[in-house]
Symmetry: C2
Subunit: 406 residues, 2 copies
Amino acid sequence: MAGPVSPLAPASFPTLPPIAGVRLAAAQAGVRYKGRTDVMLAELAEGTSVAGVYTRSATRSAPVLDCQQKTGGAATGRAAFLVNSGNSNAFTGRAGVEAVEALCAAVADVTGIDAGRIFTASTGVIGEKLPHERISAKLGELTGALHEGALEEAARAIMTTDTFPKGATAEIEVGDARVRIAGIAKGSGMIAPDMATMLVYIFTDAKIAQPALQDLLGQLTDRTFNCITVDSDTSTSDTLLCAATGASGVDVEGSAAFADALEAVMLDLAHQVVKDGEGATKFVEVRVTGAENDDDARKVALAIANSPLVKTAVAGEDPNWGRIVMAVGKSGAAADRDKLSIRFGDIVVAENGWVSPDYREELGAEYMRRAELVIGADLGLGQSTATMWTCDLTKRYIEINADYRS
Amino acid sequence: MAGPVSPLAPASFPTLPPIAGVRLAAAQAGVRYKGRTDVMLAELAEGTSVAGVYTRSATRSAPVLDCQQKTGGAATGRAAFLVNSGNSNAFTGRAGVEAVEALCAAVADVTGIDAGRIFTASTGVIGEKLPHERISAKLGELTGALHEGALEEAARAIMTTDTFPKGATAEIEVGDARVRIAGIAKGSGMIAPDMATMLVYIFTDAKIAQPALQDLLGQLTDRTFNCITVDSDTSTSDTLLCAATGASGVDVEGSAAFADALEAVMLDLAHQVVKDGEGATKFVEVRVTGAENDDDARKVALAIANSPLVKTAVAGEDPNWGRIVMAVGKSGAAADRDKLSIRFGDIVVAENGWVSPDYREELGAEYMRRAELVIGADLGLGQSTATMWTCDLTKRYIEINADYRS
């Protein structure tokens, strides 16, 4: 399963600061993979608010259903996140529910945390019984190893087809105090809104009540994880959890600076997921402008970002703008061929219903050789805009998915 | 561009009977390809009704817009179809419209057919000016060569990435008389409803007024060409034309036998398009049952048939039913994990929210080695059903589309 690291990967994992009130650990439970960590535990101190956003799949996994039930309310007691890779515990019937209950009970037993504040997630193959006792057997080791500096270890333990661990951080100053945010994510295939298929854990020492954090997380998800697509397929396990420990003592409710910082962390992680898209060699930003309304803008952006023909053209470094016109046309959004214009970066490719008089194929071909591209489509009809991020579609995607059981 | 013939291709092109009132010819106009035919002309006798169904793309091509304008009405004079491959004359602005007008005028000039009864189509690269004068230059040669037995020649002339020409036929007896139907199609990539991306020409010597033929064609399209998908991308050029010359003297308005025969020809051609899906090695029928309503049934069928993860699993002969569960979940249709069941052919794979107790991986693996597969999903919620046909997603699809300018 281990393939070469994505050419779009960051040079190194970022230095993530410890977040006061958060301790983590990873272990090798042997759920499916051998010779690597596959389970992570995060322990969250008294005073923590937990907010969550989950897949809307009608066949979502047992852990997702359990987390949804536990999300909300005013509780701020200690909490824990327990995540394994290698098996998604999805479509596992009654046994799946029992596995989640057994794991929560075991964590509660070892840590003394209320089972209602224990959030599990599982990622990997669908439809196979989760060997939860292998995970429970590691809880003593995990709790013994908990420490504040283990974010990278945790990021590595939750990887499946990911070729690099994903982390991001931001910091804001409020008066003399400092608020830190650090997040980790996994995700590589089965990535599509809503919401982008992945596991994401964000930790902050900010102080914020659960309802406010939940609202903020939902809004920011729409602008970040719900704006990426790798393959249009939506996971049964998507889980985004944000824990605010309050340990900084800084109340951030209504703080624009905090919202911006949290959005930056989420966007960074979302981009990293696309950059680790299975087989990806190009990172593509699709910018739609001039749509009649927001819904149309998003439809067009998604049609371009998900089009196999656009994505294979990008893979082949072919400035095949005709396929972008095709994708606009099929989107279902209002479009007028003669008002539509297409750009590669700043290069005007097509306008007024035809190729631009100044456009030359060499300009497009040169542009397509970049690792990071911007495809622009202006519909010329209104003021609405949408941005989506995607990657190219290569033979490596086929290799990974024709062979890997996910 | 010429690759190996699809492993799913029929052993040979079928023997198509001449259709009284229809004469065809093909020629090498050098629009884009060298050393092969790339233009076909069909001449339809006095008394012909012409019905058409077209792409719903908002960026449809100039010839499609022209054909739409000409479709309908009570006219039954002589008519002609002129089709070229290699250039789609789509997104070519004013020049595109002028090319269509010039071609229609030229055909009218050479044949004496009213320009309002001349239907053109173009298929191939988007956004490049159609060198229509190369086609006009061949009209003398084409009209001189017109003959009733040229359906296969015509099928070959309209191919683009197709690896085999597509034809189908049916015959019904009405009393002592005989009604014949013969059709040809092209299509391989950019295939998705609505409607399946392709050019299709069906000829019959049946007698039927335009409005009745148009109604019938629309209904049958929903059960045939609108039920296939190769890559979820919708062409700007999709055109299905049916010409009924009336030469048999048999009035088929309201005839169930004729409708069945026409549907059989359309379904045969639709299946051939999927079997020539770019890079296809497997032909997959997706059968959804037990949906709450027709819309949901279709959503689920389409989600499965378009899922890159399902299609790569089929390519890898991996009985990865978890991905089918995923596709059901993402479809947006009402689904209940615990009522859903999944089948490979007659093999019950999953039911009651989990893998079936009788299912063994070897059974699924054995089944997946077939060239033609049936994936069944029963939602267990109602009586609605839908069937879609698709193919697998292989590296060859990427090769074809990363390199070919379509």
